[in-house]
Amino acid sequence: MADETFRDEAEVTERGIDPFTEDPAARLAEQIAEQAERELEGPGLEPEQEVLTINMGPHHPATHGVLRLIVTLQGEQVIDLVPVMGYLHTGIEKSCEDKSYWKVIPFVERMDYLSYFFQMEAYCGCIERLVGLEIPPRAKYLRILHMELDRIMSHLVWLGTTALDIGAISMLWYCFRERDRILDLFEMSSGQRMHTRYFQVGGVFEDIPAGFEQKVRAFCEEMPVRIDQYEALLDRNEIFLHRTRDVGVVSRERMLELGVTGPLLRAAGEPWDLRKAEPYLAYGDFDFKIPIGTVGDGYDRYRVRLQEMRESVRIIEQCLDGLPEGPWIADDRKYVLPPRDELSTSMEALIHHFKLVTEGYRVPPGELYYPIESPRGELGCFVVADGSSKPARVHFRDPSFVNLQSLRDMSVGGLIADLIQNLGMLDPIIGGVDR
């Protein structure tokens, strides 16, 4: 834990925050501190003695999960911040080394538990590239459809919980109402609301049922109306503006140095999105925009995510319009289960099925890092295959883990209430941070 006194002006200015001219709250805090020092006659109090270190412990309603923050305060101004992680460490990466390749899919889903389709895609995509398996176009479109629905769902949960932290409590109910509609769609296609195990190596597990397309179209018609309603509630809300405008600003260069990606980086002004930069699956076929912010404060992050929801709806509509017919999973029986109706007629299919279910397929030796764009940033999956039927190492470069490094830069110099807001706008999912 850092053992420092209040930083002097020069250091703080370097980080891009100038509290003594631009931030009225910090100026006020400084004035109060000076006045308090003046009032207390006698031996002058050292700055260390005015500093309070508190522990926003792992069990806290506002830390979006079990994140422990050791905050050093002077009055209400945050001087230093040390996050302590590990309270949700589940050893997923070690467990994956013990399971055959397809059994790993439910494990990796549960890391960042709001973007489960993205983790499945990162892992399945990595294995498909290692093996050299091409997935059929219908599978690509179905994967994109589900991933964009997941992106909207993740942003809805973010909006609901962050607005709850800031004080706009009714947003939670509105956002979760839409989220329940999306989970109904997931349940329709895969049978489960969360953690669906829908993507498999080679494509998707099952084709979408009849009636799914109509329901998704109905959802896509209604969703922009709902986003308009959310914007009407929050966009020009004076309290929301006061709390998020010019709060938690970190410069674009500093964000890049810290390795931050995703909506945080885009809000700071850098047009970097892996869906456009390194198109994977079939993202090259779709016409969508990437929302960019200008200032990089909390308000920009909010606007970027809301606009991303709109763009995701556009992608889903285009996906449905162009959904190709055909198989939904590759037909290479070495890696993909044969359809069940063949098991009673073909001996080969039975042997393939047996081998895949008991031992699993073997992946030739090699290692690969495959990044995709999850709702929080660059989600990369690194797999080391050693030729056996179990992976030798599965590692996820989780965006929340790396983005959390920017929390200190955002919050130092601000008030503790702004820390809560920064944490909300950062959108960390502690399952991804700790894995």
Partner: protein
């Protein structure tokens, strides 16, 4: 990604600056990988970041892996990205395990060490701490190297291949005689 000839040029450029740094280059699955000597890793990263034609200014990931029966045992992987040309390059530094040479335990023989790149890329801060926590790889020069995910007083490096996976045996009828109940 730099293609195979481009990768050779990169390897040559690095070797001009510091001899015996690049051990191997490989180009698989459309990815370029440079296998380097761990002592020269800072030189390689600086060269890749600062040389104007290269410009790999974004470090996407630092992670470690344990290749246990093979030697050298550990490897630290760096994923670098050049945003202007959208190219990725993968740098791999292989580390020997000092404990394996003469069969000592890590507390006697020492832990594998490599230089930390937090000066060059501040994003490596938490990621190197994670590699240290799970594999025991010491990053020289890291400002604050302590455990990140395991409890502070934990003994052992969980993601090493010889660390047991832990947990309890699942009780079925065939093994419930061997497995103790919680009240016994």
């Amino acid at each position: 990604m730099p293609d195979a000839p481009g990768l050779e040029l990169i390897a040559q450029g690095i070797e001009e600056g510091r001899q015996n740094t690049v051990i191997e280059t490989s180009f698989e699955h459309d990815r370029a990988t440079l296998v380097v000597n761990p002592e020269g890793v800072l030189h390689v990263l600086t060269w890749l970041r600062d040389t104007p034609e290269q410009g790999y200014t974004f470090l996407a990931s630092v992670h470690a892996a344990d290749y246990l029966p093979a030697t050298p045992r550990f490897a630290v992987h760096y994923e670098l990205l050049c945003r202007e040309r959208v190219e990725r390059i993968h740098v791999k530094a292989l580390l020997e395990d000092p404990a394996a040479a003469n069969g000592d335990s890590p507390s006697e023989a020492g832990l594998p060490e490599i230089d930390s790149c937090t000066e060059l890329f501040p994003t490596a801060d938490y990621q190197e701490r994670e590699a240290d926590d799970f594999f025991g790889i010491v990053f020289r020069g890291h400002p604050d190297l302590r455990r990140i995910a395991m409890p502070d007083e934990y003994v052992g490096w969980p993601q090493r291949r010889d660390f047991p996976i832990g947990g309890e045996p699942v009780l079925y009828t065939h093994n419930e005689i061997e497995a103790p109940r919680w009240f016994e």
